[in-house]
Structure formats: C-alpha cells, structure tokens
C-alpha cells in the first residue's frame, strides 16, 4: 500500500494541470492513469484551439473559466515551452440568420468578458480571406492555436519534476472509504493507494469513478467527433481557424477548418452520440460529410491533401435528446467528503484547464492548509527542435552532438538526437506514440513510413528492447511479433 495526500485520477490536460498546480504546495501527490501516456483520451483528440469564451452561457463555469484560461494561456505556454500561436478566428455567416446568430454571440461574449469581438462585412471578409465565401463574419482576435500533446506532456514533466508521482497503465477498479483514517483506499492497476483526497479528472469515465466512490448521480454521454488531417497546406490555403456560425443546439462548434501549429489543416469535428466511450473509429458516412461541408467553407481544399483521420470523444452531460452544453461540475461532494469531482469537462476544457486546476486548489485550501514550497520550479524546457532553428544554431547543435545531423523523420525533419531525448527524458517516452507526441516524428505525410523502422531499430539497439516489447500506445498495441529469425 502506498500513502499519499492527494490522488488524481486521470492524466489528461485537466489531471496534469491539477497535478502541476498542486505541486506548488507541500503535499504528497500521486496521479494514476489507465493508459500508457498522458493525453490518451479527449485531451489528445480535439481541434487544438484555445477558445476565446464567447460560446458559453454567461454566468456558467464554462464561460468564466474559459475566458480566464484564454487570458493566461500564452504566458503558461511560454513558461512551459509549448508551441502556441495567436491566430484569431473567423466565424462565417452565409445568410441573415447566421449574421443574427453572430450578433448574439458577440453580445454573449461581451457578457463573458471576451474582448475585441466584432463583425466584418462581406467586403472586408473578401479582403482578408478571398478563398472563403460568406456574407460577413465575426472576428475573434484572441482565439489561438497550440499543441495539446506538448501542453499535456509539459504539465506532466513539470509536475513530475516538482514531486508528483505518476502511475500509468493503472486503471482504477475500486474506491473505498478508509475506515481508520477517514480517507480513501483506491485500487489502481496493481497498487493500492491510501489517500486523503481523491480528485476525479477521469474525463469520459468521471461518472464511473464517482460511482465507484459511492456518488452515483452523474452520467457521461460519449459524443464522438471525427476529423481529417490535411497535409501542410495551411500556408497556401488558410492561416486562421474558420468556423461556420454555430447553429443552436448542436452541442459542438460545427465543422470547422483549423490550421495546426505545425502548418497542417484539420477538418472537423462531427458530432455523434455513441455507446462505447472508447470507440474512436472514423466512419465512411461521416468522413464523406466532413469533406463536403469543409469544401463549402473552403473550396480550395482537395482530397489529395488528406493525410489522415482521427476521432475524439466529448464527455457530455447533456443526453442526446437534450443536446447542447451542460455546465462543468467542479466540487467536493457533500455526501462523500474528500472526493472532488470534475464532471463533464468537454470544450472549452483544454482552454480552461489551468483555471480549473486553480479552482480545485481553492476547494482544497478550504479544507487543509496549503503551504507553498520554496523550491517549486515553474519553468520547463521542451526538446530543442532542430527544424525551428536558424542555420547557425543548427550547426552549433550538430557540433554539440553529431546525432543532430542525422534526420530520422524526413517529413518533419526530426533528428536522432531529438528522438533520443524524448526517450531519455524524465519521465521518458516508452511507446511510439509517446515519442511522436514529444518529438513529433511519424506525424508527417508518410505517417512513419521512413522513421518507424529507424526508431524501432534505435529502441532495440540502444535501449535493449525486444521487438515484441515495442508498443504503439498502451499494452496490447504491440507493433511487432518478435524477430524474423
């Protein structure tokens, strides 16, 4: 049995943000995650947008924490060395009804505290984005794009550096009251943790975790969104996220086109309630629909630009017959003291993750004395990206380590040294997708055709792994069956 003060369940963006926020204080903190890496659920499967906060009902937690999150995001990314770019965002009106929706959105945004929202007419839209149709648009200058994987990894690394212990591949199967101490006994994977507080950041499974702890009052309805990834055509086609005016009641933001921080474009998401919380399949019907709708928004995209698909699942509290958004629940349960539930953290959960974490901190500080550590290290440095360096810097890097001169990933220009760093970081990458999310290899148009074999070879030769031990993601996703001979 392991003793801890705080047990965080789930290492998505919210779990990692809570871990990092609480690591400022003199506490023993443990985080458990059922998958093999951070950001394995909804946090790694979304549009990668920092929202401005005009989409949510005034007075809601979503609105308050979303706007607050937007304001602090850039400096957090700077502190944690996470790629971030303020692009702004356009919502396009195709008819008068759309324009009315946008006007109401601006009003709503003002109430929420979003700044600088305004409408532009068809002429200005044409001047700014001649490739997009529409009779006008709303501009949201404070919307931004970022790398959600790097963000979660950064929070995780920084939390770990500040003393949080993470356990992966550790699904929670029991949450019992500890009769002697008044806390909880939590079974996660092969371990049992004795803890005073449980912080439920389990996303799609937050209802089930709450139920395990004896609070059976929530239900999460999984709502899938499918995406296309296009090649690096953002420079030539679109450099700012473009959304349609949101139709009321869809419970999503509509199919939009967003440039990624890396210069790709993504199309999506769809919005479809499903049964299985882990079914991240893409379907032929939705893929067909996505492309057709996106082409209406941006006629210059073509099928040959497609390099991949993925799907993410929203943790919605609103059942299918209701639709729309229900507000975040973030509270300590009266009937179960010590259990802090975070339920229904869907969009704008990523944007709001740091304010959410601070809200958890405040809930805790009402219960126990939080004493700040003197040696808290707020800054974290990411892996140096060879491709982003100047020629002179690149030469310096190669001089410092010749492995910077060996390009492992041809599409993204990732060097052997960067792959090695992803593996050797504390806590390091242990699967191909973990390497991918840290060093960005295999994410290009050849999807690992060039670098996968090289990375596997490196893991075998230099890190003593057997081929059959190398996984794509969690255990069960073994890539190979052993040696040929």
């Amino acid at each position: 049995m392991k003793d801890t003060d705080i047990l965080i369940i789930g290492a998505g963006a919210v779990g990692c943000a809570v871990a990092r926020e609480l690591s400022r204080f003199r506490l023993r903190i443990t985080a458990v995650e059922k998958e093999g890496d951070v950001a394995s659920g909804t946090s790694g499967r979304n549009s990668a947008v920092v929202h401005a906060g005009f989409n949510n009902r005034p007075g809601s937690l979503m609105a308050k924490l979303g706007v607050e999150g937007n304001r602090g995001f850039e400096s957090a990314c700077e502190e944690l060395d996470v790629p971030f770019q303020n692009t702004g965002k356009l919502l396009v009106a195709f008819d008068e009804e759309d324009r009315n929706i946008l006007e109401r959105l601006i009003e709503q945004g003002k109430k929420n505290g979003c700044e600088d929202l305004r409408l532009i007419d068809a002429e200005e839209l044409k001047r700014r984005l001649p490739q997009v149709g529409g009779i006008g648009a709303m501009i949201s200058p404070h919307t931004s794009i970022f790398d959600p994987f790097a963000y979660c990894v950064a929070l995780y690394e920084n939390a770990a550096e500040n003393g949080v212990r993470f356990y992966f591949n550790s699904p929670v199967t029991a949450v019992e009251r500890d009769q002697a101490e008044g806390g909880f006994l939590v079974t996660a994977g092969k371990q049992i943790f004795r803890t005073r507080f449980v912080i439920n950041c389990a996303g799609l499974f937050s209802d089930e975790i709450s139920k395990l702890a004896g609070v059976d009052r929530y239900r999460i309805y999984p709502c899938r969104g499918e995406y296309y990834i296009l090649d690096k055509v953002a420079d030539s086609l679109l450099s700012i996220p473009v959304y349609p005016a949101p139709k009321p009641g869809i419970g999503g933001l509509g199919v939009h086109i967003t440039p990624t921080i890396d210069g790709n474009l993504i199309i999506g998401p769809s919005s479809e309630y499903i049964e299985d919380k882990e079914d991240v399949s893409c379907t032929s019907e939705i893929m067909e629909k996505l492309f057709t709708e996106a082409k209406l928004l941006l006629p210059s995209i073509e099928r040959r630009h497609i390099i991949g698909n993925y799907a993410g699942i929203r943790a919605k509290q609103a059942p299918p017959e209701e639709g729309g958004f229900r507000d975040f629940v973030i509270r300590e349960e009266e009937t179960c003291p010590g259990l802090i539930n975070l339920i229904g953290i869907e969009s704008p959960g990523l944007t709001a993750s740091l304010p959410i974490a601070r809200m958890v901190r405040d809930l805790l500080s009402a219960r126990i004395d939080l004493i700040e550590k003197e040696d808290f290290q707020p800054r974290r440095k990411g892996i140096v990206r060879f491709r982003d360096c100047t020629e002179e810097e690149q030469n310096q890097l190669i001089l410092s380590d010749p492995e910077y001169g060996e390009l492992f990933c041809r599409c993204q220009k990732v060097t052997k040294r960067e792959i090695r760093e992803a593996i050797e970081r504390t806590p390091g990458a242990k699967s191909i997708s973990a390497i991918k999310y840290r060093a960005w290899a295999t994410t290009g148009r050849c999807a690992g055709g060039y670098c996968l074999a090289r990375i596997a070879d490196l893991l075998i030769r230099d890190y003593g792994m057997k081929p059959e031990e190398i996984t794509l993601r969690s255990p069960g996703s073994e890539l190979f069956r052993g040696e040929v001979k």
């Binding site: 296309y228 990834i229 882990e278 079914d279 991240v280 399949s281 893409c282 379907t283 032929s284 893929m287 040959r304 497609i306 390099i307 991949g308 698909n309 993925y310 799907a311 020629e391 690149q394 030469n395 190669i398 001089l399 010749p402 492995e403 910077y404 001169g405 060996e406 390009l407 041809r410 599409c411 220009k413 060097t415 148009r445 050849c446 999807a447 690992g448 055709g449 060039y450 996968l452 074999a453 596997a456 070879d457 075998i460 081929p467 996984t471 794509l472 993601r473 969690s474 255990p475 069960g476 996703s477 073994e478 890539l479 190979f480 069956r481 052993g482 040696e483 040929v484 001979k485």
Partner: protein
C-alpha cells in the same frame, strides 16, 4: 569548364546520373545520400528480377545496387552517404544544395542539380479506411524494410490491400518467413502489378486475390484483430451487404507510390498536381533551369533498369546544359511491354524475367514467348515446375545477409528450404557470390550464396 553536378539520392537513378554526367565530361559529381549506404530502396529489395536490361544478368536489388555503385565510383563520382538534403537555394553560379550530416550543415555549390529522390508510399490516412487506428498497419515497403533489413517480424497473419508489385512480393516474402497471408484485396478488376508476380508470388502459394473488393473497415482497438472487405461498385464504393470479415493481426498496404519532392519544392520546381511528380521537358529538365529530375520522383516507373537508363540521360543532359551542347531527348515512357494483371487462362506465365510472357503449349510447340527461354520454361512447367528462391541468413552479430540459391529448385521445395535457411547462422557477412552454407530437403541439395552487394 564543365562544372560540378550535385545529385540528390544514390538510388538507381542518382547512381546512373552520376555515371552519365562523368562520361559527358563533368569535372566533379557529388551524390548526396541520406542513408548510411548508397543504393536506395534497392537494398531492401532482396528478390530477383533486376538487371536483365541494363547488365544482362539476373540480379537481386542489393546486387544491382552494387553494380550501379561500382560504375559510379569507377567514373569518379563522389558518393556522400549520411547527407540529408534540407533545401536547394539559388546562387550566383547556379544552385546551392544544403545538407545536414554528422559533420554539420554542408553547402554544395552546383552548376546543375539532378533530383533522384525516389518516392514514398501512399498511407492508410491518404485512403481514409474507416475504423480505429490500432497497431499492425504497415505499408508494404515498411514491412519489407522491417523483415529484410531489421530482422523484425511485423505480424503473424496478414491481409494485403492493393496488388501492386511490392504488395505481391511481400505476400511471398511473408510466407517464406512463416507468416500467413489470408488474402490480397484489389479494388480494380485486375491485379495492378506484373503477371509474373501474380503467378510466382500469389498462385505459387495459394494466396487468394479478391479483385473489385476493398477493405471497408478495420477492427481492433489496440492491435488489428480483423478487417472487413466489401465488393465495390463501378464508382469503387463498397456495396452494402457484400461484407466479409477476415481475421488477421496485420494489414499491409500496397496502394500506390507518390513521387517524393519536398526537396524539389524548396527550389520552386513545378510539380504535377495530380501525381506530385516533378514536371520536366523532354530533356528531363524541370521548370527551374539547371535542375533535372529522373526516376520515381519524376514519374513512377516499373523497373529499376528503366530508372537507371533515364538517370544516365539526365546526367548527360545536365552537363550539356552547362556546356551549351545539345541535350538528348527522353522519348520513351517505358513499361507498356511488361505483362500485367491476371495471367491468361490456359497459358504458362514465364517468370524468368519481368516481361511475364504468356506461353501457350500446343503439341509441344510454344507460342506467345518473346525468347526461347520462355518455351523451355513452359515445357518444364508442365512436368516439374522450378523456382528461384531469395531470402536472408542471420549472422552471429544479428545482421541479415540477403541470399539466393545456386540454382532453381522444385516448386514444392521452396517453403521447406526457406524454413531451413531461416535456421542457418553464419559467423559474419560474406562477399557477394560467396557460399554461406548449404541446405537440403528430400533429394534437393543446394548451396546458399550471398547476394549482399558488397
């Protein structure tokens, strides 16, 4: 003064371009190669079928590479492996090629540049197969790399989508290494690759091929567990109600090659928007004066021999451009003379060379063969079919050496002999052509020869 030619990529195109440029009088020819060894994709193509046109011999890929490397070096070309080209910049003299290596960023000034950067494979993402994204989905070339160069077994039971030549060659290769191949799925009415490969890679191993079908869904959260295949209609869309499930742990994709032109793009070379190939005039010069392109980065070709032939022309023309001489036109879009698709019923497909002649034997008289060897092959096929075998042998330090047998063997000996050769261990890598050992099955005894290309 005939200047410096910088060639990007030391595959068959680049190596032949170097030869062509030196023979035409280039002062200096440098080939920049990103791999640690020259040869390009040939190094992982351990099967035979290379070199008949260019060298008049039956060679494996590594052996073909060895010939091409030797020719380039004998002509005085400098091959620089471990150099990954980042971009091409214009300069006062012509172009500068910037490449990263373990020694730093190198700047190679060139009077003319030849692109021979090859191609990459179309991926699962590009063809949008529905389903989740489990482990166990590989392009045929990646599977070939894993099995032939890195001694890594990708799976136990594969379905192959697409019947291009690499897909079919990998079907046979996986069978020889003990994997099951459940089926090959092809969306077109006929196999896409050579009839020779349909015959010797699929028919020989009883691997079923389903034409007018596609993989309509992938199953498996963590690792591939099965695929669903469907018949397709005239628009190549899956037909509802025609679904079948095939259990497998691996899906191999052989769904097309795309010219690789990221380097060309940095120089502003015009690409064909449909194929991504570098567009050239009849003299293989791209839209940027002084930059030439040859081989698969220009247009996907069926044989390495054709790539070499074109590379040599590009090398010649690059020098002619500098000297102001007349260039040679490339007027042969080759490949139409190779027999593709299903073999004709009632004939024997001669597998001795890529032509794949469809030989008909009536009362001992052969027809349909383009050379006398086709008649012999057909006659032999009726009595005792014989096959060549290529595979690899493991050395004590874990390296794989490509090998072939000293002669063709009975068809029914192919699998048992391959199994026995798989168990062989040798102390160290051998020179090309040296015997690494012998193998026997029933009354068939063969010597196993290295075809490592060194």
């Amino acid at each position: 003064m005939s200047g410096t030619i910088v060639i990007i990529g030391a595959g068959p195109g680049g190596l032949a371009a170097a030869k062509g440029a030196r023979l035409a009088g280039a002062d200096r020819v440098i080939i920049l190669e990103r791999n640690e060894e020259p040869g390009g994709i040939l190094n992982q193509c351990i099967h035979d079928g290379f070199g008949l046109l260019r060298y008049g011999k039956h060679l494996s890929g590594p052996e073909y590479a060895m010939h091409a490397i030797a020719e380039a070096e004998q002509c005085g070309a400098e091959i620089l492996p471990g150099h990954h080209v980042l971009r091409i910049e214009p300069d006062s003299r012509g172009h500068s090629v910037i490449a990263a290596s373990r020694n730093g960023l190198g700047k190679f000034e060139a009077d003319a540049v030849i692109l021979s950067t090859g191609c990459r494979e179309r991926t699962r993402g590009a063809i949008s197969i529905p389903g989740p994204r489990p482990a166990g989905i590989y392009t045929a070339g990646t599977a070939q790399n894993l099995i032939n160069l890195r001694n890594i077994l990708p799976g136990k039971r594969a379905v192959i989508l697409g019947s291009g030549d690499i897909g079919m060659i990998m079907a046979r290769r996986m069978r020889l290494e003990g994997m099951e191949v459940a089926a090959v799925i092809e969306i077109l009415p006929e196999p896409a690759g050579l009839s020779r490969n349909v015959s010797q890679c699929l028919y020989d191993f009883d691997i079923p091929i389903h034409c007018r079908h596609t993989v309509s869904r992938i199953f498996g959260k963590q690792r591939v567990e099965a695929v669903e295949i469907s018949k397709v209609d005239e628009q190549r869309k899956p037909i509802k109600g025609s679904e079948q499930i095939i259990a497998c742990d691996t899906l191999i994709l052989s769904v097309g090659l795309i010219p690789e032109n990221e380097t060309a793009e940095t120089a502003g070379v015009n690409l064909d928007p449909k194929t991504n190939g570098a567009m050239t005039d009849a003299f293989l010069e791209t839209s940027v004066r002084g930059i030439f392109a040859c081989g698969n980065c220009r247009k996907i070709m069926d044989l390495a021999d054709y790539v070499s032939e074109q590379g040599e022309t590009a090398g010649y023309n690059a020098v002619a451009r500098i000297q102001g001489n007349a260039m040679k036109a490339w007027d042969r879009e080759r490949g139409s003379d190779l027999r593709k698709g299903f073999p004709e019923p009632g004939t024997v497909t001669c597998t001795l060379c890529p032509n794949g002649c469809q030989v008909k034997l009536i009362n001992g008289i052969a027809s349909g063969n383009r050379c006398p060897r086709g008649a012999d092959f057909a006659a032999r096929e009726a009595v005792l079919p014989m096959r060549t075998v290529t595979t690899t042998v493991k050395t004590a330090d874990g390296e794989l050496v490509p090998v072939h047998l000293d002669r063709p063997v009975r068809k029914d000996a192919v699998l048992p002999l391959s199994r026995e050769i798989s168990r062989m261990r040798i102390s160290s890598s051998m020179k090309c052509g040296e015997a690494v050992g012998s193998a026997a099955w029933n009354d068939t005894e063969v010597r196993v020869l290295s075809s490592c290309g060194r």
